[in-house]
């Protein structure tokens, strides 16, 4: 092989190194991905948390800790870890949470009754804002599954008689009903006399459509129900374990929703509440920010083009340079 080829190979070799470093700096090598949303081609099992389709996604165990930044602070939340997995079919994305909770708390019809709940949090814009529900100018999308809403959907909207089955009231002055009278349900009482419902509070809405409430937040104390509720799902408790599925279209078209793009990474965080421990609001078990990725195809490697080309160039030129010259000396 001639000197000219040798020199060309050497120059390429020299150039490849900086390219490799630049490529690594600009497009870092893949960081740890905590949740990979595996691509499947079937419709997603939105209401069946124990569907076979979930075997495609290996769950990851995420550690949870206390929220200690803003009052009220509960230093010792019950739930220590949660298993999370995700699948998508390019149209919808679903997440599955599984955690151990010995008691099934689904009642909020009592002053001291709090429900089991779990929430997922995603940034809406690029980047990763403050873990504590985002910050001003960097909103987050929060999907909260609630045990009491689940019970409302499984059964019927739970009211006073759910806790006090022997109570009796002949009639409420504001009830709009005909005899024979049973204890009227809230839905049959003139809304004017049901303050929470009349004020448009989704918590007090007796007709529950989904057990998952869809919110936006920009920091502590700003959690707000979104006008369009986009997330559906279901939670099932059995033998001391909750399994909850959340599902939503990847892109709802609403700019105030977090958007999932195939092949892209996104931060996410998880919070879990144990009703038996009177956990609610900031008194919860939270994860750190996790990284999730919406899997693009079945190709397992990430493609960082510059790094790949630079690597090929390095290997190629190294091979050329190290080959014994064929010409005789």
């Amino acid at each position: 092989m001639g000197n000219k080829n040798f020199i060309i190979a050497f120059i390429i070799f020299l150039l490849a190194w900086p390219l490799l470093f630049i490529g690594s700096a600009v497009f870092p090598f893949p960081q740890q991905i905590d949740v990979v949303s595996k691509r499947v081609s079937q419709p997603l099992p939105i209401t069946d948390p124990s569907s076979n389709l979930w075997v495609n996604a290996l769950p990851n165990e995420i550690q949870l800790g206390a929220q200690t930044v803003t009052k009220p602070i509960l230093a010792t939340p019950s739930i220590k870890s949660v298993m999370v997995s995700s699948i998508h079919n390019s149209s919808w994305i679903a997440f599955r949470l599984e955690w151990k909770d010995l008691t099934r708390n689904v009642s909020t019809t009592g002053t001291e009754y709090y429900q089991d709940a779990a929430a997922l949090q995603f940034p809406i814009l690029e980047g990763t804002p403050f873990l504590g529900m985002g910050e001003e100018g960097q909103p987050v999308n929060i999907w909260q599954w609630r045990g009491d809403w689940q019970e409302d959907i499984n059964n019927v909207y739970q009211e006073v008689e759910a806790t006090y089955p022997n109570m009796w009231v002949d009639s409420y002055p504001s009830a709009v009903s005909e005899p024979p009278y049973n204890i009227p349900k809230i839905a049959s009482i003139d809304k004017l006399f049901v303050p929470g419902w009349n004020a448009g509070n989704p918590i007090s809405q007796p007709i529950k459509v989904t057990p998952i409430s869809d919110h936006i937040a920009e920091g502590f104390s700003t959690l707000t129900f979104k006008p369009e509720q986009q997330v559906i799902g279901r939670g099932v408790w059995e033998d001391g374990t909750w399994i909850v599925v959340y599902a939503r279209p990847l892109d709802t078209g609403d700019p105030s929703d977090t958007k999932f793009t195939i092949g892209e990474d996104k931060s996410m965080a998880i919070a879990v509440w144990d009703g038996a421990n009177r956990e609610v609001d900031g008194r919860k078990a939270v994860s750190a920010w996790l990284m999730m990725r919406v899997e693009g195809s079945s190709f397992p490697f990430s493609l960082n083009i510059i790094v790949e080309l630079a690597s090929v160039a390095l290997i190629g030129t190294a091979v050329v340079l190290l080959r014994r010259p064929t010409r005789s000396l």
């Binding site: 009220p72 918590i203 007090s204 502590f220 104390s221």
Partner: protein
């Protein structure tokens, strides 16, 4: 004081004076509020106004005992209020456990049951004699065997613990009249307000799953009319209006009957002032109750208040005569020639009452008993 928000006093403060000496425990106030606001589903256990028999009664049960015990004994610089006593103890905000805004506890459903428990149940300070045996039952300064009625509504505090407690700022205090309200759209039923209100006046609606509280009958107040519980009082023990929030402004506006009773004559005292929320319902203390009990409940102004109340001049008697003479909120009063005159916020006269009622003797032929 460790209150989490900046001081922001309202232009005028919804306030009332309750004369505990005159309450007969008829519960008309309780029923008037109940039938106006809390008769719907989920509100069955709610009594935004309640009248409890002290010392044992309470709604929710033992609400004051529990918090006083948690707070522990604390001192005033002068127990008897001489020369203005200063509280040197901890308010519920200073006594807050780590991670909390204030000291409190969450009453459970069953503590809200039986709102009139221990009604008319006396206690006795004579350890050797039972209530029926004590011979000096009714001597002053303090009866040996005693009880009294304590009428309570939300105090619409100047530094509300409920407002400080809410993690999402769903409670607000109105600028125009200092009425404290829970935003029914914003509340998510966390119940920190119920936990941290020292008077336990926010309550949980079991059907809507969010919290509610006394709204100060604000639709009536906005029209210049007193709240339902005030207007309905059979014993005429209540006067409600809009006082000046700052003491110095109140003292300068002495023609307002509430300013006069609370800040000038000082015969009406706040309930458990040591909690630190500056409650705005003021009580003329019951005369026959042992002083130690009254100091704990109404603070060190008790002795002075009772001294003035027991020896009132015509002006004070005139203002007290205006109680329940009208439903309209009185902004000003005027006493002259045996008459008490009340004026509304526009300065118009709305009521005129005699201070000494004329005595009329019915002629014998109209007697129905002789």
């Amino acid at each position: 004081m460790d209150y989490p928000y900046e001081e922001a006093r309202p232009k005028r403060q919804y306030a009332a004076v309750f004369n505990v000496n005159k309450c007969i425990g008829c519960q008309t106030c309780t029923m008037s509020c109940k039938s106006t606001w809390t008769y719907s589903k989920g509100q069955e256990h709610m009594w935004w106004n309640n009248v409890e028999t002290k010392p044992y009664g309470g709604y929710p049960q033992f609400w004051d005992h529990k918090l006083l015990e948690k707070l522990g004994p604390n001192k005033w610089s002068s127990a008897t209020g001489q020369n203005g006593s200063v509280y040197s103890g901890k308010t519920i905000f200073e006594a807050a456990p780590i991670g909390e805004v204030a000291l409190g506890y969450l009453p459970e459903d069953k503590e809200w049951q039986s709102p009139n428990i221990y009604e008319d149940t006396p206690t006795t300070t004579d350890p050797d004699k039972g209530p029926d045996e004590s011979v000096d039952l009714v001597n002053l300064p303090a009866h040996t065997t005693w009880f009294f009625y304590l009428q309570r509504i939300c105090n619409h505090c100047t530094h509300p613990a409920c407002l400080a407690a809410c993690p999402r700022k769903a409670i607000y205090k109105r600028q125009e009249d200092g009425i404290v309200l829970i935003d029914q759209n914003r509340c998510r039923g966390y119940r920190k307000c119920i936990e941290l209100c020292p008077y336990k006046k926010p309550m949980y609606n079991l059907a809507t799953r969010i919290s509610e509280k006394c709204i100060g009958c604000y639709p009536r107040v906005e029209q210049g009319i007193e709240a339902r519980c005030m207007a309905a009082c059979v014993g005429k023990i209540r006067l409600q209006g809009l006082k000046n929030s700052l003491p110095e402004e109140a003292e300068a506006n002495a023609e307002n009957p509430l300013n006069y009773l609370i800040h000038i004559k000082k015969i009406a005292l706040p309930l458990y002032p040591q909690y630190g929320t500056e409650p705005n319902i003021y009580y003329i203390p019951p005369r026959w109750i042992p002083k130690q009990f009254l100091y704990q409940m109404f603070g060190p102004g008790v002795d002075e208040a009772l001294k003035v109340y027991s020896n009132m001049d015509e002006e004070l008697l005139g203002v007290l005569s205006l109680f329940r003479s009208t439903q309209k909120i009185l902004e000003k009063f005027n006493i002259n020639s045996n008459q008490a005159v009340g004026y509304d916020a526009k300065g118009q006269e709305v009521i005129r009452v005699p201070i000494d009622e004329p005595v009329i003797v019915r002629p014998p032929k109209y007697h129905n008993t002789s």
